[in-house]
């Protein structure tokens, strides 16, 4: 697999013609957005002044007007950037993924199946709305791997019967075949309780978590500080989480700076990275040639696809061959 610096070179050299064309379009869209935005604000202010004169500033109708403007603004934004986003994915993200590994398949509109997401058992709430995009599938060093952006939400009703949507998970979700055979379930979650309540009370709180399997305490204090592990087989959990595997997961967590959720179910590793946003979307307000922006695309792709390599999932044991 190519290194990050090779990919950065690829981004600036091979993709330069596409980048500069897209950059021109971006500037055009930006000026259009400014123009529409300015108009919108003027119309909005006039509407507010008119409301104030006729109904007063705190009239319930005011909420409606604000809502209408927000909806119109977001529809206009989507409409104006849609073609640009599609072009960006076809001309920048697709070749970039091809440069990392030519055998990877990429589909910007597809997502990892909800069944796989639910199989991971990382998020226990029922899912009422499931969406995603930027699906990548293929094999790295003989390890089948797939990932995509995922947005899983659930619904609640308040006392007045209004529905509210809550995000259960938003970020990158990856599934890869694991190099060991196992029948149990092992979950690794960010350690919230121990961080906020300390080892003694936090540890006790974790052990009485009834919705999860048994708490598994591992013999790596640094790992224990960052994660909490639940599983239904204490021996298999340690068979999966060897000392070196715990070290690799810790290193990965240090590099990504987002909450990391990992589960081992059905001979597969499921990794959820809670980035909280949609990745691989084109920048509108910063230049595509901006180094930081470029690094974000390159690094996210390189880190995700490189995860199989980093966790050494290709080191197969005898029984898996």
């Amino acid at each position: 697999m190519k290194s990050t610096s090779e990919l950065t070179d690829f981004y600036y050299q091979e993709l330069y013609p596409s980048l500069s064309e897209l950059e021109e379009r971006r500037l055009h869209i930006l000026s259009q957005l400014r123009w529409y935005g300015g108009m919108g604000i003027v119309v909005f202010l006039i509407a507010i002044l008119w409301m104030k004169k006729n109904f007063g500033l705190f009239h319930p109708l005011m909420m409606g007007i604000v809502m209408i403007f927000v909806v119109i603004a977001s529809i206009t934004y989507r409409f104006m950037t849609k073609g640009y986003a599609q072009d960006f994915k076809a001309r920048i993200i697709t070749p970039l993924i091809g440069a990392i590994d030519p055998h990877l398949l990429y589909n910007p509109d597809f997502m990892i199946s909800q069944r796989l997401f639910e199989r991971s058992d990382l998020f226990q709430h029922t899912i009422d709305r499931y969406s995603g995009n930027d699906y990548v599938k293929g094999s790295i060093d003989g390890v089948p791997i797939e990932f995509s952006d995922v947005h899983a939400e659930y619904q609640t009703r308040d006392s007045k019967g209004r529905t509210q949507w809550h995000t259960l998970f938003r970020g990158l979700f990856l599934v890869a075949e694991f190099n060991k055979t196992f029948t149990s379930k092992t979950l690794i979650l960010p350690d919230m309780a121990q961080k906020s309540f300390g080892t003694l009370i936090g540890g006790w709180l974790q052990s009485i978590n009834f919705s999860r399997d048994d708490l598994i305490r591992l013999d790596d204090p640094e790992f224990e500080k960052h994660f909490v592990v639940y599983g239904n087989d204490p021996i298999e959990a340690r068979y999966i989480l060897t000392h070196s595997m715990m070290k690799r997961l810790l290193e990965f967590q240090r590099r990504i700076s987002h909450p990391l959720f990992v589960s081992f179910v059905h001979n597969h590793i499921h990794v959820a990275i809670g980035t909280g946003k949609d990745l691989f979307e084109p920048a509108i307000f910063t230049s595509l040639l901006n180094f930081k922006q470029a690094m974000e695309y390159v690094n996210t792709l390189r880190n995700t696809i490189g995860l199989a390599e980093e966790l050494k999932l290709n080191e197969k044991l005898w029984s898996k061959e």
Binding site: K180, R217, L218, D219, P234, I235, E236, A237, R238, Y239, T242, H243, L317, W318, S319
Partner: protein, 186 residues
């Protein structure tokens, strides 16, 4: 009167909870030891095969091979205690480790598919054994802590629970044996 009743109730409740948690910990240790036993048996099943396929080639390692066979038959004797099993396992792991290293020096063996297959199975079982040992050690540590810490220690001594031994694990277990084996040869 009511106060005394409440106090007595609370004390009974605490005693019951302590008793149950100690029993739970003791059973967890036994349960996991069952798992350790199962993977150790897997390794025992593999040893005769390994010895049979390498002994023709490994003239210099005859004594190690004999030791392995001897340790295996000792460990498989019925009625040996858990502590003895733990001690025998450590010796067996060390002896098998030095055989693995020795195999590296015999090109004939390295070319032999059967031996390589056995080697890989052994390696996988070693990983399972290592996991089982770690799980066992954690459960024993939980039990030992409860036996020694206040106030569960009083309940534990009344119940006649005793501290248990853990498997000795060093991260570089294999590595150290390798180096040792190399020095022995030269």
């Amino acid at each position: 009167m009511t106060t005394i009743l409440i106090i007595a109730g609370v004390i009974t409740l605490i005693a019951v909870l302590m008793y149950n948690s100690l029993i739970g910990k003791k059973n967890q240790v036994e349960n996991i030891f069952g798992g350790v036993d199962a993977v150790l048996k897997k390794r025992f099943d593999l040893i005769p095969n390994l010895v049979a396929s390498v002994e023709r080639y490994m003239e210099h390692e005859k004594s190690t091979l004999e030791k392995v066979t001897e340790l295996r038959s000792q460990a498989m004797k019925p009625g040996i205690s858990d502590d003895q099993k733990i001690a025998l396992d450590a010796k067996l792991t060390a002896a098998l480790g030095s055989i693995s290293v020795a195999i590296e020096n015999y090109p004939d063996l390295k070319a032999n598919e059967n031996v390589m297959h056995l080697q890989r199975s052994l390696h996988e079982i070693e990983e399972q054994i290592s996991a089982a040992r770690r799980a066992y050690n954690q459960s024993v540590t939980d039990l030992n802590n409860a036996i020694e810490m206040f106030p569960t220690n009083m309940m534990a001594s009344w119940m006649g629970l005793e501290r248990k031994a853990v498997f000795e694990i060093t991260v570089n277990e294999r590595q150290n044996i390798n180096v040792q084996a190399l020095f022995d040869r030269s």
